[in-house]
């Protein structure tokens, strides 16, 4: 049983994530309603919301994954609470700064802040440095969190053991739980992309400090931006998969999954592939060396191989013709795996250079990443939240699944996503606040998407009511 202070911090994380998630979904619905001409929004206001929506969604599901992994790490190693609190304080400060930069300072360069747009100030002058500083604060907080967890793991496991390399030998004496292996692999990627974020922010600030006399290379800045942005978004899912490996057998009343050579090999390969997949964001920059473009497609394709052959296959084999005690938790893990794979198919299509030439920056892009986030990692994180609120009291989760909630979730989620995919197929651009008359089908799809998103929101609220109530209880009981 984890100590009370750990439960208290995790409760606070869950409550924060839930509140910001609901707010961000509402922002998304407002954007789709505006694109559907059902409401009018100031142009700057639309892109401020777009900036905040993207940054907040990535941020909250990243911290949800990190907080989940941090909680479960207590089973194997000694992790201190202070790094969790440190990350919490830095996250809150970062989010407040980011929202202030957008909603007060009118900053609206998008959460990817692609160089040099943030320096072409079309908002209050202080907003750009505050936005960039907000990202710096978040990066520092999360970097300390990641390194803290890695240090805790390496105090118990050697480098070889942490990466599961002993499974490549015939005989091994120490077992590495799959949860530890996946956590290490994921945290390495996170540390790499957060360090890159800090380098990128440093380059931005050097240009600002020089009065824009020091001009950086736009292609280099774009590579750095997407190494950070793409990798951090991908690692969110791997944090969720770490919790899936740890909890899916347990909540289903089955023996724990053991590590093996192919699991170790798959996750070591994933760690490498994922660091090179970001090149697919540069396909339409023809001046990028062609070798990098080809590496981008190879890495994007082969990243799916270990994921599908090991994780997907394991989940399906685990359920197939086995009597499973289905609860909300394992069902959400199962559905989350399905959403991740469907989003993965959309991603592999988009990462094909010859298809990207007519899909790049169309609605196909938000289609695929919303699929593996909204119907993949979000569901897996909710599975963890649902499990942990019972673990707080050392209780087993009752075998109760609300069919209504699941049906609303699937209809709302996939209906909303299908409008994005159709939009991509109809060449509707992403990040447009209004669609020109020639692309008016985009407005109709946006309206339908808004309606489905409302259904998704209702499902999310229904699923979270029990979680939120228990989190408030544990948080208030601990503080009294």
């Amino acid at each position: 049983m984890a100590e009370l202070k750990h439960k208290r911090v995790l409760s606070l994380w869950i409550l924060t994530v839930f509140l910001l998630f609901v707010a961000s979904i509402i922002m998304g619905i407002l954007m789709r309603l505006t694109q559907g001409n059902a409401m009018k929004m100031d142009v700057s206001g639309f892109f401020e919301i777009m900036t905040v929506h993207g940054a907040t969604m990535i941020g909250i599901w990243f911290v949800a994954g990190m907080a989940s992994v941090h909680y479960l790490l207590h089973r194997y190693v000694r992790v201190t609470t202070w790094i969790n609190l440190f990350a919490m304080v830095f996250t809150v400060i970062g989010v407040v700064m980011l929202w202030c930069a957008a909603f007060i300072g009118k900053f609206h360069a998008g959460w990817t802040f692609l160089y040099p747009l943030p320096l072409f100030v079309a908002w209050k002058h202080w907003a750009t440095p505050v936005f960039l500083s907000a990202l710096g604060v978040l990066s520092v907080g999360w970097l300390v969190w990641s390194v803290g967890m890695l240090v805790a793991i390496f105090k118990k496991y050697t480098l070889q053991q942490a990466f599961g390399w002993q499974y490549f030998k015939k005989v091994h004496q120490v077992d590495t739980p799959p949860f530890i292996l996946i956590t290490v692999v994921t945290l390495i990627g996170i540390v790499a992309c957060l360090l890159t974020a800090l380098l990128l922010l440093g380059l931005f600030f050097s240009e600002i400090a020089s009065g824009n006399k020091l001009v950086h290379d736009a292609l280099l800045m774009k590579n750095l931006t997407y190494f950070f942005g793409h990798t951090v978004a991908n690692e969110i899912l791997y944090l969720c998969l770490a919790t899936l490996y740890e909890l899916l057998p347990e909540v289903s009343g089955r023996p724990k999954w053991k590590n093996s050579w192919y699991i170790a090999l798959a996750w070591n390969a994933t760690m490498i592939f994922i660091l090179f997949a970001f090149f697919h964001h540069m396909y339409m920059d023809f001046v990028q060396p062609e070798a990098m473009q080809v590496i981008g497609q190879l890495a994007s394709y082969f990243a799916s191989l270990p994921a599908v052959a090991v994780t997907l296959f394991s989940v399906l084999a685990f359920v197939f013709k086995n009597s499973i005690r289905w609860t909300t938790t394992n069902l959400l893990f199962f559905l989350g795996t399905m959403g991740w794979i469907i989003g993965g198919v959309g991603a592999v299509i988009d990462s094909t250079i010859s298809a990207n030439v007519f899909l790049h920056n169309s609605l196909w892009v938000p289609a695929h990443f919303h699929t593996y986030l909204a119907m993949g990692s979000v569901l897996m994180s909710l599975a963890f939240f649902n499990w942990v609120v019972f673990d707080f009291y050392n209780q087993s989760e009752p075998e109760k699944i609300s069919r209504l909630q699941i049906i609303l979730l699937l209809i709302g989620g996939f209906g909303f996503l299908l409008m994005f995919y159709l939009g991509g197929a109809y060449s509707i651009p992403r990040r447009f606040n209004v669609y020109p008359s020639q692309l008016s089908i985009g407005s109709a799809l946006a309206l339908a998407a808004a309606a489905f998103a409302v259904v998704y929101l209702i499902a999310i609220i229904l699923i979270n009511i029990r979680i939120v109530k228990r989190c408030i209880k544990i948080f208030s009981s601990a503080s009294s």
């Binding site: 692609l114 072409f120 359920v319 009597s323």
Partner: protein
Amino acid sequence: MNPQHLNILILFIVMLIIIVGVFVYVYRTSLPRNTEGSGQSGLSNPNQKRFLFFVILAAVLVILLTATLPKTPYYYFANEEPAKVVFVVARQFSFAMSYQSGKPGTPPPNEAIELPAGKTVEFRVTSNDVNHGFAIYDTQNQLIVQTQAMPGYVNRLRWKFEQPGHYSIRCLEFCGAAHAFMESSFLVK
């Protein structure tokens, strides 16, 4: 919807149906009414089947790579001499297009563009300020090809327009508040 977009959508929908079908089927095999008394207990020879699954998946990916990598846009019509070269300078929030390249420090030349049908043309695309997209929409308003407009770089895009008519150009890289209104057009005769 033109054939290539439709094919992509159909491919995705087919994969979606297969994935959902597999998950529903596997889920149903785990329900108590389907497992109790049936004597079934999981997948037989899982590692053998996993290896087979891996090999099939790897083969599919290699086939797809082999089929798609030679079709990258970087060498479209590389062996042909372009009949026309169009210099494109993107800036917030418009495109300047000309048959003549501009001079540094002067406003980029801008003129109406007419291109020959059925002949290779080349666009040399750059930006004067932030990153922009240079996406060409056909006469049916479908995105057919694109490149990026990046400050400090020139992207060369070659294409052959078979159908005469008005083609639109849209910025597809978010470039600021009026991004959605940044468009231009040219005529193919």
